[in-house]
Amino acid sequence: MSEAHDVQPLIVLEEVYKVYNSGAVPVHALRGINLEIHRGEFVAIMGASGSGKTTLMNIIGCLDRPTRGRYFFDGQDVGQLGVNQLASIRNRKIGFVFQGFNLLKRQTALENVELPLIYAGVRAQERRQRAWEMLRLVGLADRAHHLPSQLSGGQQQRVAIARALVNRPQVLLADEPTGNLDSRTSEEILAEFQRLNQEFHQTIVLVTHEPDIAAHAGRIILMRDGRIANDKLNTRPRVARPAQPRAEPDANASGLPIAVSFQVEYPSEAK
C-alpha cells in the first residue's frame, strides 16, 4: 500500500465548502475540508448525523458539487464538469453502495448488475458476461435470476456491491452499507470489503456513524460540524469474518482472472 502514496492521489479536496440555501436559514454542511485519498486505501468516514459526512460522500461521489473550494478526482477538476461529464464519471469511475441497497425491484440480480454497463454503452453479450463474473465474485452466481425481493438483505447488498464494481471503478463508495443489516450479515459485507481491498487493491470509502464498523478500515476520518475533527491511520484494523465460509472453490476459480483484470485495468484507466 505504501507505494501508492508516491503517485498522484485519487481524491483531493482543497478547502471544500458546501452550503445549502434551500431552507430559510443557509445550512453550512461542509466548512473547509482538505482531504487526500490514495489508490488502494480503505477509508472510513465517521461522524454523528448532521456532521456533514453524507454531504462529503455526495461530493466525492460526483452526485453534488462543492459551493466553494476544489475537488480533483483522478486528476480532473470536478467543479468544471457538466452534468453529462459527472454522469460519465459516476458511471465509469465510481461505484455506489447504499444503506437501502437501491436495487431496481422489478429486475433480476443479473439485470441490476448490468445496469451501469447499459449506460456505458457495453454490448448486451459482454454486459451479461461481465455481470455474471461480478455475481460470481460476490458469491451469488446461483441467485442471478432472482428478484431483489427473493433475496436476503445481505444478498441484496452483495448484488449492489457487484453492481458497484461491474465497471471496474476507481473507488467504491459505501454509505452506511450495513445500516439495514443484522450484525452477522454486517460482518459478511465488511469481510467482502476487506477482501476486495486486500486482494484487488480496491479503493473503498465507507461512511458510517458506528465506530465498530469504522474500525474495519485502514484509515478513519472523524467528521464534526462540517469539519474533519480527526484523521488517523488504523494500524490494526478489525478483521471481519464471514459467519460461514462461502464455497471458496467457485469464488477462487473465477476470482483469479478477475483479480488479474483488476490489476491490469487500474494503470490503464488512471490516465
Binding site: 452526485l63 454522469a87 459516476r90
Partner: protein
C-alpha cells in the same frame, strides 16, 4: 444507452401496469379507431357511389317536367309534348353535344307469363335510350326505330324481371303479357345494379314509347326526357341550351320560373360528395378531440409514473445515466404507450369498418395511407405529450431522487 435497451426498459415498465397502460391509451384507441373506420367506410361509400354513377351514366342529363316550389318541393308539371322533344332533336348545336335524346314514359304494370307474374315498371322510349343509359344486351336485340313507328308488340327485359318471369327458361321469342297486352321478348339486358337513389335499375321492361302510349297506358304522359353528353365537359352548355329551347317551346315568359328541371347525374353526385365531406370533417374533429384527450391522459399517467419511480431515476443517475438517458427512457415509454394505443385503434377501426360494411352492405376499403398516418399521429402525440414528464424526470436531482421514499 442503445435504443433497443431503452425500448426494452419502456416495455417492461408498461407491462408492469398493463391495465393502467391500456386505460391510458384508450383515448388514442378511440381517436384512431374512429378515423380508420370512417375513412374505410367513407372511401368504400364513395367508390360504391362512383360505381353506381357510372352504371347510370356519368354524362346523363335528366329533364323532368317538374316545378320547384318556393320551399324547394318538386311537384309534377305539365308533361312534355312531342313538340318539345322534336325541338330538342332538331337543334344542331345540341346534336353536336349529345349522344342522343329519348323521351321516357313510365307506367307501373303487371307483367305475366303463363305461370308467374310480377309488378314492375314499363319504360317507354326510343331506341337511343340504350346508348344514353349505356345499357348492354345480355342476349337478343334492342327495339328499333321501325318498332317505334309501327308500335310493335316487342319488349326488352331487365335482369330482375327476367329472373322473376323466366327463372330457368330462355325468354327470347317468348310472349309475356303486360297489362293484358301480349308482347314478344326480343332481348334481355345485362344487369346494372342499383342507381345512386337505391332504385333497382334492372327492375324494368323496355318497350317502344308508341307501344306503351297506344296499347298499354292509353295516354301520352312524357314526364322525363333523358339525354347523354358526348363528353362531361359538354354537360353545362348542353343543359343551358336545353333550358333555352324548352323555355321557348313551353312558352315561358322571361322572368317566369321554369316548369321543368334539367339536372345531370354529376350534380346529384356533388351532393353526395358534400355529405361525405361533411362526415369526414366531423370524424376529424372527433378524432382530434379524442387524440388530445388521449394525449393528456398519457401526460398525466407519465407524470404519475415519474413520481412513482423517482427512486429508480435516482438509482439510474447514480450508476451513470445522463439526464438525456432518463429523458429518452420516459419519452420512449410515452411513445410506446401511444403507439400501442394506435395499434389497438387501427385493429378496432378495421373491425368496426368491416362490421359496418357487413351490416350496411358497404364495400370496405382499408387505406394503407390512413393506417400509416394513424401510427404517425400516435408517435407525434406520444412525443408531444410525453416530453414534459420526460423532461421533468431528467431534471431531478440524483441526491433528492435517491432519498425519495
Amino acid at each position: 444507452m442503445s435504443p433497443f435497451s431503452a425500448l426494452r426498459v419502456a416495455l417492461d415498465a408498461l407491462l408492469v401496469n398493463k391495465g393502467r397502460s391500456l386505460l391510458t391509451s384508450l383515448g388514442i384507441v378511440i381517436g384512431i379507431a374512429a378515423v380508420i373506420a370512417m375513412v374505410a367506410a367513407g372511401t368504400g361509400t364513395r367508390e360504391k357511389l362512383d360505381e353506381r354513377l357510372n352504371s347510370v351514366g356519368k354524362t346523363l342529363i335528366l329533364i323532368r317536367a317538374m316545378t320547384r316550389s318556393s320551399v324547394g318541393l318538386l311537384t309534377t308539371a305539365q308533361p312534355f309534348t312531342p313538340r318539345d322533344v322534336q325541338a330538342l332533336r332538331e337543334d344542331t348545336r345540341l346534336g353536336a353535344m349529345l349522344v342522343g335524346i329519348s323521351e321516357s314514359q313510365f307506367e307501373l304494370v303487371t307483367a305475366s307469363t303463363m305461370t308467374t307474374q310480377c309488378h314492375t315498371t314499363a319504360t317507354g322510349g326510343t331506341p337511343e335510350i340504350k346508348e344514353i343509359r349505356a345499357w348492354t344486351l345480355a342476349s337478343g336485340r334492342f327495339y328499333t326505330e321501325a318498332d317505334v313507328k309501327k308500335a310493335a308488340n316487342v319488349c326488352v327485359l331487365g335482369e330482375t324481371v327476367r329472373k322473376k318471369l323466366f327463372p330457368t327458361t330462355n325468354p327470347l321469342g317468348q310472349s309475356i303479357r303486360v297489362q293484358g297486352v301480349a308482347l314478344e321478348v326480343i332481348g334481355v339486358l345485362a344487369p346494372k345494379g342499383r342507381a345512386p337513389t337505391g332504385a333497382d335499375q334492372d327492375d324494368q321492361i323496355f318497350l317502344p314509347i308508341t307501344t306503351l302510349q297506344e296499347k298499354i297506358a292509353h295516354k301520352q304522359n312524357v314526364g322525363v326526357i333523358v339525354a347523354a353528353a358526348r363528353d362531361p365537359s359538354y354537360l353545362k352548355p348542353a343543359e343551358e341550351r336545353i333550358r333555352q329551347i324548352l323555355r321557348q317551346t313551353r312558352r315561358i315568359r322571361p322572368g317566369m320560373e321554369d316548369n321543368f328541371e334539367v339536372t345531370s347525374v354529376q350534380e346529384m353526385a356533388q351532393l353526395a360528395v358534400y355529405v361525405t365531406t361533411a362526415l369526414n370533417v366531423l370524424t376529424v374533429v372527433i378524432a382530434s378531440i379524442s387524440l388530445v384527450v388521449g394525449g393528456i391522459g398519457i401526460m398525466n399517467i407519465m407524470l404519475v409514473s415519474v413520481t412513482e419511480r423517482t427512486r429508480e431515476i435516482g438509482i439510474r443517475m447514480a450508476v451513470g445515466a445522463r439526464p438525456k438517458d432518463i429523458r429518452n427512457q420516459f419519452l420512449i415509454e410515452a411513445v410506446v404507450l401511444a403507439l400501442l394505443g394506435g395499434l389497438v385503434g387501427v385493429l378496432v377501426g378495421i373491425g368496426l369498418a368491416v362490421l359496418l360494411g357487413l351490416l350496411l352492405n358497404w364495400p370496405v376499403y382499408i387505406s394503407p395511407i390512413a393506417v400509416t398516418l394513424a401510427f404517425g399521429v400516435s408517435v407525434a402525440v406520444g412525443i408531444f405529450f410525453g416530453y414534459y414528464p420526460a423532461a421533468k424526470a431528467s431534471r431531478l436531482d440524483p441526491i433528492e431522487a435517491l432519498r425519495y421514499e
